[in-house]
């Protein structure tokens, strides 16, 4: 393979990895607060739809992007309500959220199939876009790619260096200890879930505003689930999430290209590739290292006493 092939492939890897990156960062935030939310897929697709509709109606992609975050957070809020208020089972609630989101987006989105909406175009960054190799791969993307990259250190900084981040992590590790230290456990879990929902919504918005510009059914195509798996692969660290998201984006872009070029392999096998990789990655990351940064109280509901 030569540079003409590899550079566009890597650029495509970043594009198709970006929605996963948003969603993975969001799920890291949620899980660090001790809440497992399997509804990423549902929050992503409702976010995608909200962004698409807003962009069509108002013509402002930026507003559409923010709307997606808001809707993602609102859908995530259902999970928060079920788990934090009514102490419902987190796994069941998350699964329900995915089914709900996919169903809702299908129902509301069917009339929109095939329509287009104004979105984000490529924005070459001044000065750096001319750097050989790196320029065309990283610095000739749309603004949402740059925002996603900036999100990585931001989330890391919030979790590791801010007092609120410390509190949020404590709530995810040992909610009773956090409560005994005077921290409002439920408040931080709300923050984790809503923040995670917002980022998942952003991820969805990337798909409808920048990746495709048009609405199709099942736009997210399992990316939410890949994000859930990537959180484990990333050991709950934002930096590794970036690596993982682009790796998966790369595989997705690669199999698309292979299909386009035409091989003897059945396309169904190629389509399976990213999900197969997800399974592999989960097996290896659970096997290799016992000591990850998994929050100790992940998935455990917290019941404040009387």
């Amino acid at each position: 393979m030569n540079a003409e092939l590899i550079i566009p492939l890597l650029a495509a890897a970043i594009q198709s990895g970006t929605p996963i990156l948003y969603a993975t960062l969001g799920e890291i935030l949620t899980e660090k607060a001790g809440v497992l939310n399997l509804g990423v897929e549902g929050m992503m697709i409702t976010g995608a739809l909200a962004a698409f509709v807003t962009a069509q109606v108002t013509g402002h992609p930026a507003l559409a992007f923010l709307m997606a975050g808001l809707v993602g957070a609102v859908v995530g809020g259902i999970h928060a309500l079920v788990c934090l208020w009514f102490l419902g089972n987190q796994v069941v609630s998350g699964l329900a959220l995915t089914i709900f989101g996919l169903g809702l987006a299908d129902y509301l989105g069917t009339p929109l199939i095939g329509q287009t909406a104004p979105g984000f175009d490529k924005l070459a960054l001044p000065l750096v876009h001319g750097i050989p190799v790196l320029g065309p791969i990283v610095f000739q993307q749309d603004i949402l790619v740059y925002t996603a990259i900036i999100m990585v250190p931001l989330v890391w900084f919030f979790l590791e260096k801010c007092r609120w981040g410390l509190n949020l992590r404590a709530v995810g590790e040992h909610p009773e200890a956090a409560a005994a230290a005077g921290i409002n456990v439920l408040r931080y879990r709300w923050i984790g879930i809503l923040g995670g929902g917002c980022l998942a919504g952003f991820g969805g918005a990337y798909l409808s505003l920048a990746y495709t510009h048009l609405w199709t059914s099942n736009l997210t195509g399992g990316r939410g689930w890949i994000a859930v798996a990537l959180v484990i692969f990333a050991f709950w660290r934002p930096g590794r999430a970036l690596l993982g998201a682009y790796l998966f984006g790369g595989v997705m872009a690669f199999q698309l290209r292979l299909q386009a070029v035409g091989t003897h392999l059945p396309s169904s096998l190629l389509l399976m590739l990213p999900y197969f990789l997800t399974v592999l990655v989960l097996v290896f990351s659970s096997w290799k290292s016992r000591q990850t940064d998994a929050p100790a109280a992940l998935g455990v509901n917290f019941e404040p006493n009387d």
């Binding site: 007092r163 410390l166 590790e173 956090a178 230290a181 921290i183």
Partner: protein, 505 residues
């Protein structure tokens, strides 16, 4: 500050759980600069009372006065802001974070964390009260005693005036307990009010300025420490009847060897030799973490031995554990009765069947009714409450659960019993029961008693082995006065004969 007016007065405090009174009309004074002990058995209501003072539980009646003014706490936060802090039995620390992070957790301050400044402040505070600790260490890497220091520093850091300790020595080694007591006295000198909750008479007598005794939710005595006449009188107040603190051991003839460990090397174990015969109790004492755990796990088949020989009932380790798993030869009574010994959410019958299938299964089918019937008899013999084979394990108190485990294990008539900290966290009455059961079992089994409680080891054992740094330092008969006097030193690793006298037990 004057010591005449109490810093805190509890007035007629009452707390009910359903129809049961956990606390009834309790009135107590807590004074600055004094150590007040709250003595009582498990279930006497000590923890409930302190829960109300720490803001975790809301009283159903009565009031709390702080410096003469009534206060209402609706959460732990309110109590914290009044300077009342509690060191819980189960530490409230985040394992994945550092000492400094834990101490600063929930502490108001700027948005950004200043790691260096935090660590310096913690170090300075630690030095001031002589509780040395590395502020950069992760909690998961600390010993129990060190974790407790972090808890104390957490309270001191928030300038707490009242420090409540809920059974703080239950998890400590004797040395660590001694250090803790010194720190407590030091804090009292710095005008803190200390509340010490315990059921251990010696500790209470050793430490306290004032002693209040709780029984069945009510205060039965409240006095200064110098008014206590004897330990026995105090015990009688606490239990409500005569207590026998001595046990009578009838000698039993020792018979065949049921456990023989020879030259076992398997880090951290170093050249471990010991022998247990039927009819004797071998007390294995030592500070926790000196290799007892891996040794017990090896003997009980949870961990493969390294080099050396481990023979059970005359068979070597791999053969024994391959072939004879469920028959009555070996019983293990683990320290962790909630996790390793029982399943919280299973009924007592199911827990009984966990290790004891023989006689209660036909082909692939379990015969529950038969097991339930046998268990009913056992429940009566061992006096387990609630006496219902269908109640879940988590509904039982620590003492009753331990009796349940012992009942189950002894039902199989084992020839070798490994009992690990069998009375840890139990009150006097339950401890008496467990000791009695162990002594009775001795007539037909060899018992390896692993304990951190020297008094327990001395009252029960026929022979003693002292463990330090993965090694059996010495093994001797329980009537060897000279050796017994040196146990404390041996446990600390201070012995000139440690190397030369690796015993042939």
């Amino acid at each position: 500050m004057s010591h005449d007016h109490p810093l805190i007065r509890l007035e007629g405090l009452t707390k009910k759980f359903g129809p049961l009174y956990a606390n009834r009309d309790i009135t107590l004074d807590i004074r600055a600069g004094r150590i007040k002990s709250l003595l009582g058995e498990n279930g006497a209501g000590k923890s409930t009372l302190m829960g109300m003072l720490a803001g975790r539980l809301r009283p159903d009646g009565g009031r709390i006065l702080i410096e003469g003014r009534p206060r209402h706490f609706s959460s732990a936060r309110d109590a914290i802001s009044e300077g009342i802090g509690m060191v819980y039995q189960h530490f409230m620390l985040v394992d994945a974070m550092t000492v400094a992070e834990n101490i600063f957790l929930g502490h108001p301050g700027g948005i950004l964390l200043q790691q260096d400044a935090m660590e310096r402040q913690v170090e300075a505070l630690a030095r001031q009260v002589r509780l040395e600790i590395d502020p950069r260490a992760r909690i998961a890497d600390l010993s129990m005693g060190e974790k407790q220091r972090v808890e104390i520093l957490k309270l001191l850091f928030r300038r707490n005036r009242v420090l409540i300790f809920d059974e703080p020595t239950a998890v400590l080694t004797p040395q660590e307990s001694k250090q803790l007591f010194e720190a407590l006295r030091e804090m009292a000198r710095q005008d803190k009010a200390i509340v010490f909750i315990s059921h251990k008479l010696d500790e209470v007598l050793d430490l306290s300025d004032e002693i209040a005794v709780l029984r069945k939710g009510e205060v039965v005595a409240d006095m200064t420490a110098d008014r206590v006449q004897t330990k026995e009188a105090l015990a009688r107040l606490m239990v409500g009847r005569e207590v026998i603190l001595q046990v009578d051991r009838e000698p039993v003839e020792t018979r065949q060897t049921v456990l023989r460990v020879r030259g076992l090397n398997d880090a951290p174990l170093k050249d471990v030799n010991l022998t247990v015969r039927q009819g004797e109790i071998l007390g294995l004492v030592g500070v926790a973490g000196n290799g007892q755990k891996p040794l017990v796990e090896t003997i009980c088949g949870l961990r493969a031995p390294g080099t050396g020989h481990v023979r059970l009932m005359g068979q070597n380790w791999s053969r024994f554990f391959r072939k004879r798993r469920w028959d009555g030869n070996l019983s293990y009574v683990p320290e962790d009765r909630q996790g390793l010994a029982t399943c919280r959410n299973l009924s007592l019958t199911e827990n009984f069947l966990l290790t004891t299938r023989q006689g209660f299964s036909r082909g692939p089918w379990l015969q529950r009714p038969a097991a339930e019937k046998r268990l009913r008899e056992l429940i009566q013999t061992f006096d387990i409450h609630p006496p219902d084979p269908l109640s879940q394990a988590r509904q039982l108190s620590g003492g009753n659960l331990q009796k349940m485990v012992l009942a189950r294990e002894f039902f199989r008539r084992p020839r070798l019993i490994v009992a690990e900290q069998p009375t840890q966290g139990l009150d006097i009455a339950a401890t008496e029961d467990v000791w009695g059961v162990l002594l009775k079992a001795r007539s037909r089994a060899g018992i390896l008693l692993v304990t951190g409680d020297l008094a327990e080891a001395l009252s029960l054992s026929d022979r003693l082995a002292v463990m330090f740094d993965g090694r059996i330092v010495d093994t001797f008969d329980a009537d060897d006065r000279a050796k017994i006097d040196a146990i404390g030193l041996m446990m600390a690793g201070v012995t000139e004969t440690a190397r030369s006298a690796i015993p042939d037990a």
